[in-house]
Symmetry: C2
Subunit: 429 residues, 2 copies
């Protein structure tokens, strides 16, 4: 399949962060040509880029996609009550079918708001993988390790099932398996070490919640005489395969350990603020240390959207306010987090994250013909401070058009919305 | 003119915060009937409310609407440099024509994102008033007092021109004059007292920037041996006509003074965070003291949108994070700030701010058929935590349809966007 986009404004996000007015030609999965001069060729899709901004698809490095079903189900209560009395009782009812429905809803939302890659952590991982595969979405599906087991697997089944899961998906073109120990407070040394072994054996990524709340850090320190980052370091998990979600309560020394180990960070400002985790992830210090920072929405139960534009604005603003410094995290830096740095966090920096010839075609288009995107002094500023998911009109992942002028091509919109409503009604407790 | 909305979900925002499934009938400016049972009557507009959420129009109590032309013009630099080297040189070029163009762009954005009332503070006030009048937008137009004069008026002209302005607009049905001394640091006692005199004489509102930055508080204290709230109290401006913008750096005692004087607060969390004013307006303490809190976007140069949904989410989240308490400012409280409390702040609580028979018809409709608004566990949660301005499909102010299914009825969309682009290009320095 081939796609020709004509006369657009292109934010390449290449090393020079070039902005071009021109054409893009895509063939199969690949960006073949990016050119200031008109490209004349036939194509299966010819897309008019007039008044459109083209940029690399956004990369969401931490979410729990089936939890999209719990959007708005429970807000404004303290974390422990939220988990114990609201979220967990509902999750106990979740099965493969509801995971499929929630995943489809999440995919619909991500595609509609310009996300082309996501990393997940949840249960019924094969179901999530199959659903993402059908929708043709680039995805990293975390297989959850928790000492007391998951809704699908008893504790003793986790290792063999994880190996089976990893083998099943590791050679897939766009759906990749990830080993996801839930956290240092829910996975003991044995499961942490098993996770690492499987990751090393199959060259897969690792993903974990790390230092999200002060209570977590306190409890882990009490048990291990080490903080969560220290525990991960001790067991070898602070390695270049690891993506750490949150890192709201970490020290400068821990940033050094993260950087030296080659681990990456997924910063989730909206969820942290809504749950009121208190800490401010020391993002400016991470940048100083040259650690790789990416952005995650977290699940829709604690955000309450999967909108990466929303997350970009919150990211930029919360750190400015916290440091009393409006120059902290300028728009370009935050856009990098959501694009090229996201791809580096997932180990696919050479493949996606920027619009360059030879890279895979993960590309989105923004409709600039909107009051809130006028006038056009600065495109990067608009993306971070003014745009919203709803401004995305076209989403292309791996050379496949998933949404074209707000019409979904790989998902049945009405059916997914209906099923989600029905399923959500049955889930409440 | 009459409007009949059928089979909608209605968030009344009345005293009981009732949610109804039913019909609304509007005649001329008034809400005539709100009913769970079908209303059968002819109407000029019959609007299908299926999968639509109806709520009172949002009320933005602090903005500088012509500055919409400066959206994205300058970000990520410190306040003094931003004002002195970026904003003021551009503002020196602004004239009545560019104010008209910027106002129209701002109106387009507000109407498209569900705002039905705004309070402004800028220059060329008659131009803003006439432009709002033409668009049929409910508005409170602040006449700016600054000791060194404004782009339109020399210092000695301010008092007579303000009186003329107030007389011209005071009996207008929807465009109301406001006396707006810019701030305690830019208006000396004489202009503060003159402002109060005119407000009292003509029963008009007062609007001022108050304790936005620490530097402002420091400088005012040095000069007056009083903090800004103290200065306002001393000169009698802490009265029930006054709306104070920001209040980021105020004390508990000052909250008492504000409440006792009957003044209201316009909280602008997005602008405060983006400019990094440092302080956190003590909103929970204001609620404890029963002070009236409303929300403002501030100008698009420091936000960078006029989207009240965005402002609601930031408002809820920034205080949760700051206090380490997710139960602070629950969704319903924040929705109240943007509707019924906004109307009380502007002294029109009996007229608008809720959907009740006998009130003026300031009503908006949200299209719920969106992935990010599915499933529908909780409408109020969705409005604050998931919705965006782009989800508004219909906006009615004072019984007049300003936007119907995303088509503007009182403004020429293409012409405004084109003019704004052209004008903005000429403004840069």
């Amino acid at each position: 399949m081939s796609i020709l986009i004509k006369k657009a404004i292109i934010l390449t996000q290449n090393k020079k962060r070039e902005q071009l007015h021109g054409d893009i030609y895509i063939e199969d999965q690949d960006i073949i040509q990016v050119s200031k001069r008109p490209i004349s060729t036939e194509a299966d899709y010819k897309i008019d880029g007039n008044k459109k901004l083209i940029l690399p698809g956004l990369i969401n490095t931490h979410t729990h996609i089936p939890m999209t079903l719990l959007r708005g189900y429970s807000d404004d209560i303290i974390l422990q009550e939220w988990l114990e009395q609201r979220v967990w009782p509902v999750e106990a009812q979740i099965d493969s079918k509801s995971v499929e429905i929630g995943t489809k809803l999440g995919l619909l939302e991500m595609i509609s708001s310009g996300t082309t890659t996501f990393m997940d952590m949840y249960f019924f991982e094969d179901t999530i993988g199959k659903t993402a595969e059908k929708a043709e979405m680039r995805s990293f599906i975390g297989f959850a390790f928790i000492d007391f087991g998951t809704p699908e697997y008893n504790p003793e089944k986790l290792v063999p099932e994880c190996e089976r899961f990893v083998k099943r998906w590791k050679d897939h073109e766009i759906v990749k398996p990830v080993i996801a120990p839930h956290g240092v407070y829910t996975c003991g040394p044995e499961n942490l070490q098993k996770s690492l072994e499987i990751a090393n054996k199959h060259d897969a990524l690792l993903h974990i919640h790390c230092s999200e709340t002060r209570e977590e850090v306190y409890n882990v320190q009490k048990k291990y005489k080490l903080r969560p980052v220290g525990v991960l370091k001790k067991y070898g998990l602070l390695c270049d395969k690891m993506v750490l979600a949150h890192c709201g309560w970490i020290t400068k020394n821990e940033i050094g350990d993260i950087k030296n180990g080659g681990a990456k960070v997924s910063h989730c400002p909206v969820s942290n603020m809504k749950i009121a985790t208190g800490g401010y992830a020391p993002i400016p210090e991470m940048l100083e240390a040259n650690a790789i920072v990416s952005l995650g929405t977290d699940g829709a139960a604690s955000n309450n959207t999967l909108d990466m534009f929303d997350t970009m604005k919150f990211c930029a603003l919360v750190h400015k306010q916290h440091r009393w410094d409006p120059s902290i995290l300028p728009a370009q830096t935050v856009l990098d987090f959501a694009t090229i740095d996201g791809s580096r966090a997932l180990g696919i920096g050479k493949k996606v994250g920027s619009i360059e010839e030879g890279k895979k075609a993960d590309v989105i288009m923004i409709d600039l013909n909107k009051p809130h995107l006028t006038p056009q002094h600065d495109y990067v500023s608009h993306l971070v401070y003014a745009a919203r998911g709803g401004d995305v009109c076209t989403t292309i992942t791996n050379g496949k058009v998933l949404m074209l002028e707000n019409k979904f091509l790989t998902l049945n919109y009405n059916k997914i919305i209906d099923n989600a409503e029905k399923c959500a009604k049955g889930l409440t407790c």
